[in-house]
């Protein structure tokens, strides 16, 4: 009986095992009783195969069965307690991984990170290791990787400074080569040169990979990376010349000790400069082995992994929580005779929640494609073949910007769609919002990233212009190939149903992107012809360039989503459900930017109204699959850690119970004794 129950529904596997998870709330059970597609199959597709689903669940079971990984009190912790808990979990996980023989960089770590909801410290340690692999020579990799893997050192990556962020050339930290001792002297010349923000730096790291201006024989050679020991391996105290600490409370990421670092003429040996792409010989001769862009490789890798491995997870979780809550929460009546309706049956609620759900799927497929692209070009780049790097760089920058923009918006929409309860930390939503919103400025500020995409688009467009009709298009990067394709001047759609053709709306987006790129180019050229120099003209046109870059990125997400659908044709039910989301994503974009589509008459006002009709009809189609589409992400209740979003739908009992555990209820009321009682009595004494 028990066995049957656990096979029939994933309840047993994903639940918290608290008193409420024994009974499924009928309002959520009814959403699952006649599924229009096989949810388990979709989960397998999202995971990348049945075996991967199995491995993920295996890791999740280990995590949720181990009390060391409990997230129960996480919302009640102070910054200090939170940080310590994250260090404890990380150390416990590492020991466990050694015991179980998990491979370094294996999928297991990824799944474990997901299962503990990212509540781990020392995450930049891994970035350090990866950076060494990207930027270090073979000897450096051989020396430092084992030290990292055995945790004999704990390391961080220090780039951003107090006064300087995304613009790398502006960094002030200096590394001056001293040929007499064959050492680099690392120094923070001003207060704005203080390294600021690196994770793990504040309290945990013993070593930092410091980005600094290399100065050789009096000549500045630009940014290079140096391994700098900052804390004693004996007693963890800061080394001489090193001032280091935590930068204080933030919107989130309390589990991470983001830190500051000032270096006062700290010396490191010559071998500590990472030398895959540049070397300094003992006599101080500087040798360049790569292009300027090669330094960006580690950032590209970080951004690509960020989209699928972090940002989109947060949005997916928010969708799960808000959608589940919306079938439990009832409010007002749709008909006077009916009971109060599930709020998910309101059109306005559907519009709020289904668009972010569509984004979550769009970015899922996008992240996969980017990862494939990265994996296929990574080795070439390491072997100093940089031909694919510009496109990879532009794509990763653009998709990081758009992904973080949209995921941050979507997560916040989901939070607010839960009304007052979305404001409670116990819903899990506030911390998803505060985590995801950080990604709009870390790993490259979004506007700066969009402008990097725009520069790539300008170059690509010049390529097209330079060779009209010639065969040179083969050189055009795949993601901008549409720039050279002949387009239509008017959209041929005649009725709402025509707008449900992926080819049609993909072309519509290609049309708008092309037009905006052309027009921003034109603006730039006009300004330059009227006497402005390139830089001035560029600054005067950045707003339109950002607009063009955004349209291009939107096009890429639509094209990738439709491409992913083409691979699902053997799964007609799943294809049908996901196609609605793909359509919704594309059409919602057209409606929110209707001005751009109307502008040159590509769409007429009447066509926009047909788009609106098609869009509103999609909401009703998605409604019946909404719970299933969120179930398919297969988050355990443990990792959702939400009183509103549990699989069983027992929202209110859990919320009441969790609230009673708050320290404000269990630790008495000193404020009453100290301040309220005297206040309440101050009048009686006067009377």
């Amino acid at each position: 009986m028990q066995r049957q129950a656990s096979m029939g529904s994933p309840l047993h596997r994903v639940s918290l095992g608290d008193p409420w998870s024994r009974h499924m709330h009928p309002d959520i059970a009814s959403e699952r009783c006649t599924p229009s597609f096989n949810v388990e199959r979709l989960t397998n597709i999202l995971d990348g195969g049945i075996e991967k689903t199995a491995l993920r669940r295996h890791v999740e079971n280990i995590i949720s069965g181990d009390p060391e990984f409990s997230l129960k009190n996480i919302y009640f912790l102070s910054q200090n307690e939170h940080f310590e808990a994250a260090i404890r979990k990380k150390v416990h996980l590492q020991k466990l991984a050694w015991k179980l023989g998990w491979p370094e960089d294996g999928e297991e770590f990824k799944y474990a990170y997901r299962a503990v909801s990212g509540e781990l410290a020392l995450n930049i340690h891994t970035i350090f290791k990866k950076s060494i692999r990207s930027l270090g020579s073979e000897e450096q990799i051989a020396k430092w990787t084992p030290l990292c893997e055995r945790f004999q050192i704990t390391a961080t990556y220090a780039q951003t400074e107090l006064g300087h962020g995304t613009y790398l050339q502006g960094l002030e930290t200096e590394a001056t080569y001293d040929a007499a001792t064959q050492e680099f002297v690392l120094h923070s010349p001003t207060i704005t040169a203080t390294k600021w923000w690196p994770g793990d730096l504040g309290r945990a790291a013993t070593h930092a990979l410091v980005q600094a201006q290399l100065i050789c024989s009096g000549v500045r050679q630009g940014m290079h990376a140096f391994i700098v020991p900052i804390r004693s391996l004996q007693d963890h105290s800061p080394l001489p010349g090193v001032t280091v600490g935590d930068i204080g409370p933030k919107m989130d990421f309390e589990q991470t000790d983001n830190g500051f670092l000032q270096l006062d003429h700290v010396r490191v040996p010559r071998e500590n400069m990472l030398s895959r792409f540049a070397q300094v010989l003992p006599d101080g001769t500087y040798i360049k082995l790569g292009t300027a862009q090669s330094n960006y490789l580690s950032m590209v890798v970080a951004r690509v992994e960020l989209i699928g491995g972090e940002i989109n997870f947060l949005l997916k979780k928010a969708c799960v929580i808000a959608t589940r809550y919306s079938v439990i929460r009832r409010q007002s009546r749709l008909r006077p005779s009916d009971p109060e309706a599930k709020i998910l049956d309101y059109q306005t609620q559907q519009q709020k929640l289904f668009v972010p759900l569509a984004w979550a799927y769009a970015f899922h497929f996008l992240a996969n494609e980017l990862l494939d692209f990265l994996n296929s070009s990574h080795d070439d780049i390491l072997n100093r073949d940089f031909s694919l790097l510009p496109e990879l760089h532009a794509l990763s920058a653009g998709m990081k910007a758009m992904g973080s923009d949209f995921c941050a918006q979507g997560t916040e929409i989901c939070r607010r769609a839960c009304g007052g309860h979305g404001y409670s930390k116990l819903s899990g939503l506030p911390s998803l919002v505060t985590k995801v919103t950080g990604s709009c400025t870390y790993e490259g500020e979004n506007t700066v990233l969009y402008l990097q995409v725009a520069r790539f688009l300008v170059k690509s467009y010049q390529q097209v212009q330079g060779a009209p009709g010639s065969t040179l298009h083969s050189a055009l990067a795949r993601s901008v190939a549409y720039l050279a394709e002949p387009g239509l001047a008017r959209c041929p759609a005649q009725k709402a149903a025509d707008f449900l053709q992926p080819e049609l709306y993909t072309k519509a987006w290609a049309h708008v992107a092309t037009r905006l790129i052309k027009s921003s180019m034109h603006r730039l050229q006009t300004l330059m012809q009227s006497g402005a120099d390139w830089q001035e003209a560029w600054n005067q046109t950045t707003v339109v360039h950002v607009q063009a870059a955004k349209a291009h990125c939107f096009y890429v997400t639509v094209r990738t989503f439709t491409g992913a659908l083409e691979n699902l044709e053997q799964e007609p039910e799943i294809w049908r459900a996901l196609k609605c989301l793909c359509d919704l994503h594309a059409l919602h974009g057209i409606l929110t930017h209707s001005g751009d589509f109307l502008h040159d008459g590509f769409l007429s006002g009447a066509q926009i109204e047909e788009v609106r009709t098609a869009y509103l009809d999609l909401l009703l189609l998605i409604r019946k699959d909404a719970i299933l589409l969120t179930d398919a992400f297969d988050f355990t209740d443990h990792c959702l850690n939400s009183a509103l979003g549990c699989y069983d739908g027992n929202v209110y009992e859990r919320l009441f119970h969790w609230a009673q555990k708050s320290p404000t209820n269990t630790q008495g009321n000193p404020a009453y004794e100290k301040y309220l009682r005297p206040l309440l009595q101050s009048w009686s004494s006067k009377l």
Binding site: F76, V91, G165, W197, K250, R330, D533, A671, Y675, W683
Partner: protein, 661 residues
Amino acid sequence: MNPDLRRERASASFNPELLTHILDGSPENTQRRREIENLILKDPDFQHEDMNFLSRSQRYEVAVRKSATMVKKMRDFDIADPDEIMWFKKLHMINFVEPVGLNYSMFITTLLNQGTTAQQEKWLQRSQELQIIGTYAQTEMGHGTHLRGLETTATYDPETQEFILNSPTVTSIKWWPGGLGKTSNYAIVLAQLITKGKCYGLHAFITPLREIGTHKPFPGITVGDIGPKFGYDEMDNGYLKLDNYRIPRENMLMKYAQVKPDGTYVKPVSNKLTYGTMVFVRSFLVGEAARSLSKACTIAIRYSAVRHQSEIKPGEPEPQILDFQTQQYKLFPLLATAYAFRFVGEYIKETYHRINEEIGQGDLSELPELHALTAGLKAFTSWTTNAAIEACRMACGGHGYSHCSGLPNLYVNFTPTCTFEGENTVMMLQTARFLMKSYDQVHSGKLVCGMVSYLNDLPSQRIQPQQVAVWPAVVDISSPESLTEAYKLRAARLVEIAAKNLQTEVIHRKSKEVAWNLTSVDLVRASEAHCHYVVVKLFSEKLLKIQEKSIQAVLRSLCLLYSLYGISQHAGDFLQGSIMTESQVIQVNQRIKELLTVIRPDAIALVDAFDFKDVSLGSVLGRYDGNVYENLFEWAKKSPLNKTEVHESYYKHLKPLQSKL
């Protein structure tokens, strides 16, 4: 002072002091406000600690202490005028997160609006003097904006002449009221009144919660704090469960509806009157949106003048980030919005007081429009402000994410405005209901007045359906009046589309409610367009009232920027409605960029004119003197993680791991 800011201030085209006077209402108001602020700034009892480094329980404790100090000081300073109390609180409490705040804003207000003279005599003075601390318990765990769905019951027992209060289900537990968790000893509880076996809907009951002297909850009362939230750390939002809890008959607020000793129910004259409190609170929230947005703009714009980054021309020093077009495009439309909302808030406040007087004289005719207008504007301004604060935070890059910027706090404390006192989508739909009624009224041949009078001019209401020809074709994009017309046409068009779609759905569906639901996305769009029009109209009308030429010039640029930016963002609506042509939209976009450079030299003066004290901004990035980096470093050193040179987690966890191999 930071040299960049000094230079900015020296080169402004107007004197910010004069603009401050306009924002305060008069030079005398500015002077009095500053006097009051100086009382606080100079008084050692108001020593201000940085809440960012405290735990939630500590923050609550500090807030209670501040409340207590404030009550005593206001007595000492003899501050009793409502505006003066506001100025006092704005500086002292900063975010209005005040555990005893609801005693004043809701408990006393409701007692005044709905209590009989006898009831006011009994409780008013005691609550004003804080002998009792009251709160207002309406929202339940399972029920929010839809009031009729509330489940708490108050059943009258004629034998003892008492009401029996009950929370019959988990979902009926009162949830969210501020000050309920730990602070209050009284609450006004909203409950379904049942007498003689019949339910008469929601009524308000004065309910004692805790024993005076011990502060212990009475038997039958389960009360506590609902736990950690996104923001409002200092507030003990609470839960309340009532189990057969008896209160005397006299505790029902009976100015309008009554229950006689024998249990007979006497109906109120008009049920609209209970909307009064809500209208008041919502109109107040419009002003709060303006204030929060002004703060965010002050922080982001000052920081953008201090921060240098990147290069515009090679070889030149790094420019202020405020010189980048993208940064101006992010921030200046928001600055214009802050000014727009300031003037809207002022207008609503005046209108509320005017209409309230009329109501006092028995004239309820303007109440429906006021109710619809405040609902819509509360939603419109809070949604816009919510996104705008976040945009200001992101415009500060990484440092915006640190609590040192003050922006995360500003955001998390503002964002509940979108859901409390009426969830925004529900508010927009209430406005839409009014718009649909007005549309129907015009359709049936009666003229409407007030802000919706544009519906009288709809082409479809005329005999000849010559849509395009009747509408004025040429919008002058440098005239605020002409732009107001354009917004009016957009609103009229979207109201009409929603009305027609609603009619079509009503024909196809059996029930009006289903039709309403299937049109609700269109309805919300129509309400937004209506509100947007109202804001543009009020801003452009404000310009006419300003005498000082230099001020009028700069406000005119802001008004144009606000209006044109909205057109650019909703270009589709203006193109689709043939209100503007493609080439006009191109001109609009061009003009916006020109306006950015016009406003640029005055940006700092425009935020200085808001006249926020550094204490009230709570931001290292937004300091008046601009000395950001030194103070950022000093601030960080105070982080709790920095208390010891080596953190305890090293000894406990990291060292054992390192020596494991």
